[in-house]
Symmetry: C2
Subunit: 657 residues, 2 copies
């Protein structure tokens, strides 16, 4: 049976003339025993809530996974698909891509992401079990990881967190082949992996990855009860069977070539033509799903025995059907309007969450050791811990990258909408995982506070100036930088309504309440006229975001006193605005001929799409500095007076022209 996996991997890579045969050849024996005897899966129901999750963290070995999905009978994985490995439009993409085909639990390829994502899945499983009971929630999360995954820093964050949370149903299968792209792992690492995992609180097992009996024994032990996550180090040979390429980096990332494939076929006594698998082998593989199908039926019976309300609650949870949350946003906005007091947008976000958390059980909060600063924890918010998975708040530790990937895992697992906070500048620590949120379209909310020089004294290392542009540049991510407390409530509404990931960019310092009411035609449309010019047609458009929106409002008043009619546009989200129809865009920004001035305590990069080259921008031109926020705003010339001056200059130039 393992030979079938190997043959498919060799043949598909050869057919594509591109791909990674080494890993599938090396890990086929372990994968075969795993599917045949241990993994709980039902190919006829790829989305069954209580299936084991299998994450191929070593995503370059995608043909191993595709071979398994084909042989075990997942829908859509016919031989034709495998023949079109790595061709445009094929679900059998170069690396496993979530959503491209049944049975792909997550997108992998960027190393370490799969392992860290799996930690989030295992957390979600434990959380589900605490909520719905072990009779309905009894699955494991399996990870296949190679040396590359383990060398990435994100892996350590994941390993450390998993050990701390005692994720006893997380099992990492380490493809310990001693080879990476450059050659032997001894070129770059001397780490004792077993000792490293033990230091983080893991159970560590080891076995010969080519001996089916030893593999079976190790996997059986891996599923015995424990209070720790388990790592099984399987000693394997990369490119197993591929002649003199076996055991070397030469088998890793390119087609083996005819002669080596012939040698491999001979070595494993596999006389069949490419993509041909004898019936007895296909039958044997088809039979592997019987265990899972039976388990699925028994599970369905158990679910049926639950009272209807409980069944419904479970089904709603799995489908992540959110209750109507508008009343929570209304309530928060009412408080902001009634108080009228200036509030940091991070604080406003905390207030909105106080209303949302009780209403939306799917919301799981967290922070990367900045809980008091990012306002993501509300009063009474129970913490998730090794002995308390009923909680709803995660202390992720100072592990931004691992946090972001685990949030992806929670979202992928189903049931939860994770949100978590750190400082905006540290988006640069977790961009790899945020990219996967965007690529997979996962509903994850990044709460990114201390969003400019307005954070003050901590200085340029902590002051983002380029981060907004970097996030706006990412396709599939919606970036929101609300300008007053009411916009914060609306931004949360957008975040919960969006199918994909959202970055909520929030301030350390206070902003005044500028809005009069909650509106479906404001933040959700990306930009809107906050305050139209008075006393005649608009002469100039002032555009502000976040904490600088108030500066635009002040500038409007300065200009009005001089008889200049300026409108103030709030633009909390460039992406949402760009998605509106032209009529809305034109109505908001005014005719092209009218000068535009934008103010944002960040770089201009990306703003020309709104301003054109001739528009004026009041903002940063480089890194920030350490000092009190007010002093920095003055120093860098981000003031209402400068906005007004830019407007005057733009009008004067227009008049000359």
């Amino acid at each position: 049976m393992a030979s079938a996996l190997r043959a498919l991997a060799m043949d598909a890579v050869e057919e594509a003339n591109s791909g990674h045969p080494g890993m599938p050849l090396g890990f086929a024996d372990v994968a075969t025993v795993l599917y045949a005897d241990v993994l709980k899966f039902d190919p006829s129901a790829p989305d069954w809530a209580d299936r084991d999750r299998l994450v191929l963290s070593a995503g370059h070995g995608s043909m191993l996974l595709y071979g398994l999905l084909h042989l075990t009978g997942y829908p859509g994985w016919n031989l034709e698909v495998l023949r079109r490995f790595r061709q445009l439009g094929s679900p059998a993409a170069g690396h496993p891509e979530f959503g491209h085909g049944a049975g792909i639990e997550t997108t992998t390829g960027p190393l370490g992401q799969g392992l860290a994502t799996a930690v989030g899945m295992a957390m979600a499983e434990a959380m589900d079990r605490a909520r719905f009971g072990a009779d309905l929630v009894d699955h494991r999360t399996w990870v296949i990881a190679g040396d590359g995954c383990l060398m990435e820093g994100i892996a350590q964050e994941a390993i450390s967190l998993a050990g701390h949370l005692r994720l006893s149903r997380l099992i990492v299968l380490f493809d310990d082949n001693g080879i990476t792209i450059d050659g032997k792992t001894s070129l770059a690492t001397s780490e004792d992996q077993a000792a490293r995992f033990r230091a983080a609180g893991w159970r560590v097992l080891a076995a010969d990855g080519h001996d089916p009996v030893a593999i079976k024994a190790a996997l059986d032990e891996a599923v015995t009860d424990t209070d720790r996550p388990t790592m099984v180090a399987f000693r394997t040979q990369i490119g197993r069977g591929a002649g003199d390429k076996a055991g070397t980096a030469k088998s890793h990332g390119s087609p083996l070539g005819c002669s080596h494939i012939a040698a491999a076929r001979a070595a494993m006594d596999w006389p069949h033509a490419p993509f041909v698998i004898p019936a007895e082998i296909t039958d044997a593989w088809a039979a592997t799903s019987r265990r899972g199908k039976l388990a699925h039926m028994e599970w369905a019976t158990r679910l049926q025995k639950r009272p209807p309300a409980e069944q419904q609650a479970f089904t709603d949870h799995v489908a992540r059907r959110l209750p109507d949350f508008t009343q929570a946003l209304d309530a928060a906005a009412s408080e902001f309007l009634a108080s009228g007091k200036p509030l940091a947008t991070r604080a406003a976000s905390g207030k909105v969450l106080e209303h949302l958390i009780p209403l939306v059980p799917a919301l799981i909060g967290g922070s990367a050791d900045l809980t008091g600063s990012v306002n993501t924890r509300v009063p009474g918010h129970e913490v998730i811990a090794a002995d308390a998975f009923g909680g709803r708040f995660v202390h992720w530790g100072i592990r931004e990258h691992g946090m972001a990937a685990a949030m992806n895992g929670m979202a992928l697992h189903g049931g939860y909408v994770p949100y978590s906070g750190t400082f905006l500048v540290f988006a640069g620590y977790m961009l790899g995982a945020m990219r996967l949120s965007a690529l997979m379209g996962q509903k994850v909310v990044y709460v990114l506070t201390h969003d400019s020089i307005g954070l003050g004294e901590d200085g340029p290392t902590h002051q983002p100036v380029e981060s907004l542009a970097q996030l706006r540049a990412m396709p599939g991510l919606t970036v929101l930088r609300p300008g007053d407390p009411v916009e914060v409530a609306e931004a949360w509404g957008v975040a919960l309504a969006q199918p994909g990931p959202v970055a909520l960019v929030l301030s350390r310092q206070a902003v005044p309440v500028l809005r009069k009411e909650l509106s479906a035609h404001a933040t959700a449309r990306g930009a809107y006229v906050l305050s139209e010019a008075k006393g005649g047609p608009r002469q100039v458009t002032l555009i502000g975001t976040g904490t600088e929106l108030a500066l635009a409002v002040e500038a409007q008043a300065i200009l009005a006193a001089e008889g200049i009619r300026a409108a103030v546009v709030s633009m909390p989200s460039m992406e949402l605005f760009a998605a509106q129809d032209e009529a809305w865009q034109d109505a908001v920004l005014g005719p092209c001929a009218l000068p535009r001035v934008a103010v944002e305590a960040a770089l201009r990069f990306g703003w020309d799409s709104v301003l054109g080259r001739s528009g004026r921008f009041v903002g940063m031109t480089g890194f920030g500095a350490s000092g009190p926020a007010e002093a920095l705003y003055d120093h860098f010339g981000i003031t209402a007076a400068q906005v007004a001056e830019a407007a005057r200059a733009a009008l004067a130039k227009g008049a000359r022209a």
Copy 2:
């Protein structure tokens, strides 16, 4: 003496009404013994090549460092500077900022960076020792790291690499206080740090961080001969002495307040007013530098005894005086022109390096386990290993973030110009460290290959579409995407001439040789006219970068056949072009009224600064896909035909207007 450090930290934070007193209070005892008895430093020569490097990885404890620099007599660190802690323009910034004051070895604050940077410094020390001998190169690299640093993934990459390379002169002092911002570390981690470091090949020591005798013994042991890096875990109490805030997160990140400061003063029997230090204490601190000054003199004598040529070589090395490298670029360009064969720009870069490496000994290459793909290693390029620091190529392993930080450390140490490669998309794994390259203006060359959908089958996880914009958005970083082999040679010239960091963005796939000669007025000016319109004045400007430059050239020919006069502009660097005078910019881009069309296999984000809102862009609009490169270019409509069509449409619209 430690009390003086504590008092200064408390007083400065109180005066600033902002800052982190807990760490300095907790680590003052260790720091005092370190400076008094162990560290090799000479405040009168802060840049002495053989000084020990001290990296405060826990950068929020900046007042500990500033207090030490003041008390030991570093130039510029008078009491007035400390009184202006965290004020605009003060060298005593919120976090230590390299270049703001003498004795700050690197910018820290973003956690984990200091530790990983220190690994690069320790590597550079070992490399210097192998080159110039232990009589001239005999310093250590010290790191003060807290739990926050150790939890970040980048720390593991650094720890693992340091153990592998057996950096025996790297010593990490772990401020083991069991507290992070959110509270006890047990909220988020259960790791056995000693076991973790041992697993990576470190020597681990431990001591009471408040017992001067124990501290002295531990530090003395830490400098005994070993073949491993050393970690000393000092058990400390955060906020030591600060009444009921001691030992809690409350002392971490905000002023202690009058009553707690009074309690601390009483507890350490320190009756002096704020910022007042009695003469006997200032004298004792001043005396700590005697050891270092003597060592410095002895070292200078040893240097003097070397033959003049060796002295000169050492001095040139330390000052990083590069030889004239233009001949290497000429030689490479000549080969490209003579051959005339299409070449991937990554391959062209490898060819340029073949000429540069023998000529410029300061260049240190490397790759994150993609050596054959990023073309950073040349024939005969000796590898750096634990027993071979004379080498010039680093197998960084699959540790992008640690690699980038360590490259910063090498550059900061002096003597070397590190360059290293990974895929462009993995810039998202190391942006935190790239940001510090830019903020510190360090000469580090990032070789970022496989720069678009042109990498083909590996698919969207490996295809950058937003990365170019994200890097262009970063201030202080020069991004170069050369469009033909000759431009690659010029780009290396820019990289070596630039004082700050450079990202060389290179292709997997081949490009034709489009240029006729090497020129000082091409790549170095950011953009230039590669091919002017013929047969009359220019009607439209086609702008290309990288692999798409050839598409612009093809489109020019298509248009010419129709009688449309298009010029082709190559724009390898937006930042360099933006820095040119208006005359050059206008000459290159043509009058504003002429339509502009840009082609780049990436997102439009950021291009409007060149194109204006009305310009046309042929590129990507979202993530890529898995398939052969040619199929992807067709699928996403990035072709010469589309460029020509965009030009026609632009001209037609102009004609209508």
